[in-house]
Subunit: 343 residues, 2 copies
């Protein structure tokens, strides 16, 4: 089969890889119908050391079940399914409490002999625990929004949930990438009354407004902090940081009210951060993290199916699989918000 | 009047200071009946640069109202009152939401012309907003436990509340100082079923057991982490860190389960801490901070008055005011857990 493999920074190639086969009885092989490039794929795209073997890329996909292992009981060939961005067994203590991202037997696509999602097919471990069956056909117009459930929409929802967003709240979302925009959807869905979106890319913040952002702040750094504080009468109780840079964290800490919550969704591009006496005296809660996407899909799926939310609008360009390198380039150059890939 | 003043590391003296008088109409002058030395007083005791002017010490006290300013309506001369460890106006946005520690007009004893609690009398700003009237006489046997409400007991309670301790929980308390022990009381009071106390001072951990600790772990560092994980079948969902050192934080992070909460009560002795990709992937929530003691006093006062909780047991030695330097020395040498001071 054909699949995208990264061989180093800036070096993504679509190459021939072995067709996936059932290895363990809990596996399913899924023929990919749609996948995409994640903002987090851009970190290795900028920094990965060159390698001969390469790393299969992509962790967001939906597709049709082609074959199932002997232990798979909930899925059959022909089912359309969406995959959360990590696989999980749905039976360990973490899965049982809804923290599938920490599954004792779980893992990431593109590692440990598991295919990436940016390819023609994927062997999915723990298929029963991982995959969610979709009650539509592979030609449904809802496909982009259903694909968004594999990561960006469930991640945005995780931010809103962990920040404790509730009816009537004022919420700040830092970052106008696909996750930030899906966070706006999630905050609006949970009843936030005022949603301030910090982002400077006008097309993206425009979409953010359509999703429910009531205010947009384009300034960054200290200027951005001052503007947000001015707009909100001093600061915000609930802040969701959807970038991962230290500057974005500083914006969050600079605008959150004492006693408030900063939920992080962007994978931190730093090891240490400011959690000293100043933050302690202010009673700031730092929460969030990698989303247990699997836990949220059923609830959000219902809202996608009835059209309440349309996170698929974050996909602003579609690439054929062979053009995956162009998709990376376009996203890295910020010409494309989020690239959908069709094998 | 006589009052304790710190002039530098290891240099506490009881000196003559001006008798406090009403300065602002919201002030009250309180004649101190009992005060004490806080674990946090030991940080400057170890590190404060020498100074000629010195800093009045002490932020935990109870006493009798001697005089009130023209605007004070809730207190009259002769009332026995306990002071939370910061003063607050009870009317600003933070006070109204129960975060008096962040009061817009609040402040700390011993700073900005306000007396410390380790002395004969204190001018208390915003007396109506700050002081809580006690329905007992100044000779009550409950005095030590009532004094504990000014800081250590309300701080321990803050840890249990922010960690979300609820009936049936397993909780880890890191630190066997007065705050750690009061945290055990608070966790037990909120229904925790299993309370693991990490501490190596046997007298203190013994008192912790009487307060409700079900397990004591004396090992520190990696050994302590391993022991706690073994004891709890892998880790703990709710951890309260009552020390403030980086080692204590590392113990908390090493023992908390993915998706769990670390609540900090010890003022951090570090500026930066580990909040990078590893902690992010694990969905650890970092919360807690300086306790809004004023918010918790009414609720905990009821339990002190009816004998449900006895936090005053953390005071294991009483010093006359003139012996305050000895009290500091004894606490710094860990000969005394918490020193009560009687003017």
């Amino acid at each position: 089969m054909r699949a995208a493999v990264m061989y180093g920074a800036g070096d993504v190639r679509v190459v021939e890889r072995p067709d996936p086969k059932i290895v363990n009885p809990s596996d399913a092989v899924v023929r990919v119908v749609a996948s995409c490039v994640c903002g987090s794929d851009l970190w290795p795209y900028r920094s990965m050391p060159a390698t001969d073997t390469g790393r299969p890329m992509g962790h967001e996909f939906l597709g049709v079940v082609e074959e199932t292992g002997a232990d798979v009981t909930g899925l059959t060939a022909g089912d359309l399914v969406v995959a959360p961005f990590t696989y999980s067994d749905d039976t360990c203590d973490y899965c049982v409490k809804g923290l599938q991202i920490s599954c004792r037997n779980g893992g990431r696509y593109g590692f440990d002999g598991v295919d990436g999602g940016q390819g023609e097919a994927v062997r999915v471990p723990y298929a029963d625990g991982t995959l969610v069956k979709l009650p539509v056909g592979a030609d449904s117009a809802l496909l982009p929004s259903l694909l968004a459930l594999s990561d960006v929409m469930t991640t945005g929802h995780h931010g809103a949930v962990t920040a404790g967003v509730a009816r009537g709240d004022t919420v700040l979302v830092v970052g106008d990438g696909a996750v930030g925009l899906c966070t706006v959807i999630a905050a609006e869905r949970l009843g936030a009354e005022r949603i301030v979106l910090a982002g400077r890319h006008e097309v993206r913040t425009g979409l953010g407004r359509e999703f429910g952002a009531t205010d947009v702040v384009a300034e960054r750094g200290e200027e951005g902090v001052a503007r947000i504080r001015e707009l909100t009468g001093g600061g915000v109780e609930k802040v969701i940081e959807a970038v991962g840079t230290r500057q974005a964290l500083d914006t969050a800490l600079g605008t959150v009210l004492d006693g408030g919550t900063v939920s992080r969704l962007g994978v931190p591009q730093y090891e240490q951060g400011p959690i000293g006496p100043a933050e302690f005296m202010r009673n700031i809660t730092l929460t969030g993290g990698a989303s247990p996407a699997r836990a949220y899909i059923p609830e959000l799926l219902a809202d996608v199916l009835d059209g309440t939310i349309t996170p698929g609008r974050v996909f602003d360009e579609t690439f054929a699989l062979d053009r995956t390198p162009d998709a990376y380039r376009a996203m890295a150059d910020r010409q494309v918000l989020k690239a959908l890939i069709r094998p």
